[in-house]
């Protein structure tokens, strides 16, 4: 299985890899996650009950309260942060969160390389915050690596 390679803009340097958690409709700010565990609490989120901890978190952008970045900052303080994250399009709240989290971050992909469409929960994803390169290994193949 060849890796799927997509490229965005690397904005926080460093390399991270892990299992993907994909939130195409983002995660609501202020109370959307439990910082202690990283578990998503947002009532209507498709990933409610799953944890962002140690994942490569893939989101379209931010959503909801301006208290968006602080919940991720609190998760970092509690040791429940993702290893790295990807935003289809950077926006101001995800920009602040990235500045605070200081985890490898890649943003702004072409429409033909939408990470929320190409990546599924459980895929193995490696991101390079220096080059903006994202390597995706689909979950049905990752066990063979």
């Amino acid at each position: 299985m060849e890796k799927i390679i997509i490229k965005g803009r690397g904005v926080i340097k460093g390399v991270a890899e892990g299992e993907a958690l994909v939130c195409p409709n983002s995660i609501a700010g202020w109370g959307g996650i439990d910082p202690a565990t990283g578990i998503i609490k947002e009532p209507l989120n498709i990933n409610k009950g799953k944890s962002i901890k140690d994942t490569i978190l893939v989101m379209s952008g931010s959503k909801g309260s301006n208290g968006w970045s602080c919940y991720f900052g609190a998760a970092r303080a509690a040791g429940s942060a993702p290893k790295g994250w990807i935003f289809t399009n950077i926006d101001s709240s995800s920009g602040v969160a990235s500045s605070i989290m200081q985890i490898p971050t890649v943003v702004n992909f072409d429409d033909s390389q939408n990470p929320c469409q190409l990546i599924e929960n459980g895929d193995w994803v490696k991101i390079d915050g220096d080059t903006g390169i994202v390597e995706i290994t689909k979950k049905q193949y990752k066990e063979k690596i």
Partner: protein, 430 residues
Amino acid sequence: MKLTPYEESVLNGSHGRLVQVALENIIRYADVLGATELCEVTKATVFCGAHHYLNFCNTDNFHELFTKMNLGKDEIITFNQTYPNCYTQSCVSPCDQFSFDSLHQSKKYFDKNTSYLEECRKAGVTIAGSCAPYLTGWLPVKGEHFVTTESGVTAIGNSLWGAMGNSDGIEAAFWSSICGRTPLWGNHIEENRKATHHVVVEANIDHLIEWDLLGKAVGMKLPSSSIPVVDGHFKSVNFTKLAQFFTTISMSSNCELCHVSGITPEARDVSDAFKGSPTHGDWVVTNKDLQYAYDLMCDEGAQSVDFVSLGCPHYNIDLIKKAAEYVEGKKINPNVHFMIWTVYPIKAMADLNGYTRIIEEAGGKIYTSSCPTTVGNIFLDHYSGFVFDSYKQARSVKSDTDKPVFYGDMKTCIDVAVSGRWEVENRWKR
């Protein structure tokens, strides 16, 4: 990054470590966004107080906590100043201005919160304690650059006043209030404020709850980072209704600017909102969409309730007056904690006008400076059935509890507070 002489002098430490770190963070934030210069911020709201998310940093030393959580540094930098040209006031804190027993909080925690607020006040923040800073005169004008910790205020400021702000975040609002700068990016640039999507509203929109539901119905379909122009035949539009709408659309999307055709200043009509740029999508909002939005939020069934809360965003004096008029002569069910949330100066006006007395004689209470979800589980966990007149508050509390959460307009909420029961007939129906 293109920097002014003032910004260069801040970076070389001439204005002290606090301002230096704040500007360094703003520049990192600008780099993440892809901005190449900064702009001056002259209005800010900031998030002061002993908020629960701060508990994950193991210290009660305010300045250490502030440095780690808001500045992202492992040192202790004293937060002792704000930018002189930026009027900064505080958003909600997790405590009422005076009460703590009735919110199931300890005196120790209340005092800690008060001490955190006092440190912010000494640094130059005017303590207001409101998610609705416009109620106390925080009003950026057209073209003025602002930062705020309240998402609804971002949308109100951009859309209704033509002021310029991004959602940023709690940390960045502090950075900007300290160094007076934010990235010149997004809504701070005139060119970026054109509509991207055309939303035709066929639903009947008049009452406050309908504007609240319209915010959800539009927000839940909006692609990320889009700017809708909402186009409909609206009746008796006023600031209160628009503020509710902007609060809910921003809660349910990442919308920071939403034009309303014929009403907001950058949308004299639909064509003016687009200013010659193409639409990226058009859709229609019907009564069915409003009903769907309502049914998503209001739990099914009927049961006794013990928590009824009005005011998200904080009630203005007219809404308190209307609530007092409706509750006058009624008695709140003794099992129900019935409350209205506002800001301290508006509470003073309610006292002056006798509205507080009427509400208290009925068995209710006016609280200030916070809201149920911001007070948090130490308060909410004492109750078994919740009723709100705000989509945003209902959604937030629903994240905090697995107990039933119901949602209705002000009069329905008061009726339920009196009866102590939510009935199926109380559901909003179109």
